[in-house]
Symmetry: C2
Subunit: 306 residues, 2 copies
């Protein structure tokens, strides 16, 4: 247990989409290259949304084409988020290895994001997932707002397990539960992932936590204990809203890897490179980002004189 943890880096997608300062494509290429070199297993490099809606993601197709050509024998799985059939079509045309797609467990969140209720959205997502799978692609299906919703508040576990049951019935066993609003607690994490393991012990579970209320790392630890293998995280803890002082970013990648390596896990990952990328990202945005280790340095490194 807790041995084969897979790192799914989402900073270039979930992290950057909150940032208003546009990151030039050369910079994204440099960061993504470093993250691949550091050994992250899955690299989510963008989402296929309308470029006018999320200008930060306007170069997603170009990035995939670049990396598919530059690294034909890559070890890293290149992942992209798709919200609809149009996005899937774009992704299939530009070299995406793994498609991430999902629905919200919150009716309000679902309607705000997609214009569809939850049931309709599940049907659409499983159809899209099938198309991607038939094209030979990896697929990850997710439930957003799985632990609570910024609009609706509490989300009943049954709503989440109902959606997951439909995914599993449709043959999609790579399931992510995303704590979009940062509401999850470790107790809830153990219960909900435990319930899904009880439904299908072979399901490959992914967790996705935000640190809005300071619980991302504790929730991740609880998730690992509940059998989760795939962990989504963001370099430097990117992903908070840059205009408030609220640190709502994703679980911080290099802090998580630092913890794992202190437990003799994933020693194959190049922590120094991850820290270097985190420092570049913080320098680019000219502000402190939530990560701890990129500022302190790892424990083995001598402390900088203060």
């Amino acid at each position: 247990m807790k041995r084969d943890i897979v790192i799914h880096e989402v900073g270039l997608r979930d992290g950057l989409q909150m940032e208003h300062r546009t990151v030039p494509i050369e910079t994204k290429v440099a960061w993504a290259g470093e993250l691949m070199q550091a050994g992250v297993d899955i690299l989510q490099i963008g989402s296929f949304v309308h470029p006018e809606k999320v200008p930060q993601m306007r170069d997603t197709d170009e990035l995939f084409r670049h990396f598919a050509a530059a690294y034909p024998h890559r070890r890293t799985v290149l992942a992209g988020l798709v919200l609809n059939e149009k996005g899937l079509e774009r992704g299939l045309a530009c070299g995406v290895d793994m498609f991430c797609m999902g629905v919200s467990a919150s009716e309000t969140h679902s309607r705000k994001n997609t214009g569809m209720g939850v049931d309709e959205a599940v049907g659409r997502i499983t159809a899209m997932a099938r198309t991607a799978q038939e094209a030979g692609k990896k697929v990850q299906v997710s439930v957003q707002s799985a632990f609570g919703c910024g609009y609706e508040g509490a989300v009943s576990p049954a709503r989440v397990t109902d959606i997951v049951a439909k995914y599993l019935e449709a043959g999609f066993g790579n399931v992510s539960l995303a704590d979009t609003a940062g509401h999850a607690t470790p107790g809830q994490v153990e219960e909900l992932f435990g319930a899904i393991r009880d439904m299908d012990a072979r399901a490959e579970l992914t967790c996705h936590f935000h640190n809005t209320y300071g619980l991302a790392m504790a929730n991740t630890w609880a998730a690992l204990g509940a059998g989760v293998k795939y962990v989504e995280s963001s370099v430097a803890g990117l992903g908070g809203c840059p205009f408030t002082r609220i640190a709502g970013g994703n679980l911080c990648t290099e802090d998580f890897v630092h913890m794992l390596q202190r437990m003799d896990l994933r020693l194959d990952l190049d922590l120094a490179t991850l820290i270097g990328t985190a420092r570049s990202v913080a320098a680019f945005f000219e502000r402190d980002l939530p990560g701890a280790v990129y500022r302190t340095g790892p424990i083995a490194e001598p402390r900088p004189a203060s």
Copy 2:
């Protein structure tokens, strides 16, 4: 399990001792009063050290005298840290309910702090603990640098369990393991506290974590799972070094209580008052402190417009 969690607030001691801006005694009285009103179980209001060594703690005796007189029927246990016999004598004279004292598991840290090696320090502490107990006081004995040392690096678990065995043999079962340098990982926490529970299932265990590398909450969750009941934390996450950007403060009290209450635990505590105190502390020091919830507000509270 995880039901009877006891909150031991250490912000006025471990938090303030790192701060160079002196907090006037009226301000400490106000904060301590609020923390008591919020329902913290144990309130560590200072340490008995030489006032020239730690000027921030120069009013410790006066604070204890004030609270012992002002709240003769208090529910809150007033705790003080003592390093030596002189401090114990002062504490016995001014109304301390509970004496906290300990040794470092790191030979270097022990010699730097006390001039004594670990073995000698253990003998001295157990003698002091006995004096306090005979005076009718509660006693908590601790092992500092239990999970790693800023000077020595790794600390072997056997060094820690040897010290704890001596405490238990001497009849002191209220044992705290302190992660002074912030080096602990959740795996290590489960192992070390588990080993102590195996030594004596009736031991009352306390954890004390710093968030230097982003792991304080995850370590605390792991500790609760390993049978720890007493949790030391600091309002607003005070305790980092104010002159670096390194967030090395204690586990943040109100973030921890917010998590507990989201799990229907410790609903008797007044979170709004804790958050109010955290905001006063941040306003006093005129900088953002590490806590998340005092900035975001609790989940039940509507978000401020951004």
